[in-house]
């Protein structure tokens, strides 16, 4: 699970109001180089919750992201490269995502988060 995906996942357990953002509890993280595409990252930035990206990145050992999206982010290559690394190059392979309200954990195995709920949780 890359942070690009973490940013859009929520917990929809019955009774939970927001269920977002999910806390990452990683036991295995891998970093793989991905070809940089600045135009793509610039297009994705407005679709992300940046504060969530930053916090999630820190929780898996990726530091150095600014608190806020750079105001000139579309042309700011340094910023886009940091964002690219955090969003696409770091991958949680094993671990879990935890719902901030219910504490329910969603396992991540082989890089795939399992967001399925039991029948009594829907």
């Amino acid at each position: 699970m890359r942070l690009l995906i973490h940013n859009m996942l929520t917990s929809v357990v019955k009774g939970v109001k927001k269920g977002y953002p999910l806390t990452i509890k990683a036991t295995k993280v891998e970093t793989k180089e991905v070809e940089f595409n600045g135009e793509f990252i610039a297009r994705m930035i407005p679709r992300m919750e940046w504060a969530v990206v930053k916090k999630a990145a820190e929780s898996i050992g990726v530091s150095g992201l600014p608190d806020d999206v750079a105001s000139d982010y579309e042309s700011n290559e340094d910023f886009l490269k940091l964002a690219h690394h955090a969003l696409l190059e770091v991958e949680v392979i094993e671990g879990a995502l935890q719902c901030p309200e219910s504490g329910r954990e969603f396992p991540i195995n082989n890089g795939i988060p399992n967001m399925l709920l039991n029948e009594d949780e829907v």
Binding site: R43, L88, M115
Partner: protein, 211 residues
């Protein structure tokens, strides 16, 4: 990317070992996936190269992998079934394609109401048997996730109904002329199938949610 090469790669994609009837796990033939992705989605509309693409109900991942082969910037396949996703992950490794991620979830229960993707390509359950309405729920979810266009396969018999729905949702809908009423084979993968191969008439529908 040449048609022959894409087709060759997609023909390596393994399909369901034991299809589940309730999930309508019919694998899309590699030829159909190739022509839809290459000729329609990419060459006609330019909706793959450099884009964020989602495949809802990705099954063994043929559309997701095809999109990645056609240089999507990032692809996410969503499916409810862990066995399908395990095969899909193996397929990604086997074909040797990068930038494809998977999420296990009930697609219609999917998270944050954010338009993260540029394009959705999907072969949803057609909403038969005990699944009535699943096809429409998939489209509704896709429209929520997507800023650009949703490409989705539907039984041709539901075309009028979908047109009414599209009007309600306020999105424009067209049936791709080259993929209207195409006959998809349904191999005898399940006990309830009496004949070896049946056919179902399918439309490739494009919903434009960019406006």
């Amino acid at each position: 990317l040449k048609r022959k090469q894409l087709l060759g790669d997609l023909q390596q994609v393994e399909v369901f070992r034991k299809p589940k009837i309730l999930l309508e796990q019919y694998a899309l033939p590699a030829e159909v996936a190739t022509d839809i992705l290459r000729d329609v989605v990419e060459l006609t509309y330019g909706d793959i190269r450099g884009k964020a693409v989602a495949d809802l109900g990705c099954g063994c991942g043929v559309l997701a992998i095809g999109a990645a082969l056609l240089s999507a910037a990032h692809v996410v396949g969503f499916d409810i079934d862990s066995e399908a996703l395990a095969i899909a992950s193996e397929n990604v490794e086997h074909v040797g394609v990068k930038g494809v991620d998977f999420v296990q979830c009930d697609v219609v229960n999917l998270g944050r109401d954010a338009k993260v993707f540029d394009t959705v390509v999907m072969n949803p359950p057609y909403g038969t048997k005990k699944n009535e309405g699943r096809d429409v729920q998939f489209v509704e979810t896709a429209l929520k996730l997507c800023k650009g266009a949703v490409y989705s396969l539907h039984k041709s018999s539901t075309r009028k109904y979908l047109e009414r729905k599209a009007k309600q949702w306020g999105v424009s809908m067209i049936v791709e002329p080259t993929f209207a009423n195409i006959k998809l084979p349904l191999p005898r993968t399940m006990k309830c199938h009496k004949r070896d191969v049946g056919f179902v008439a399918i439309d490739l529908v494009r919903f434009d949610c960019s406006k």
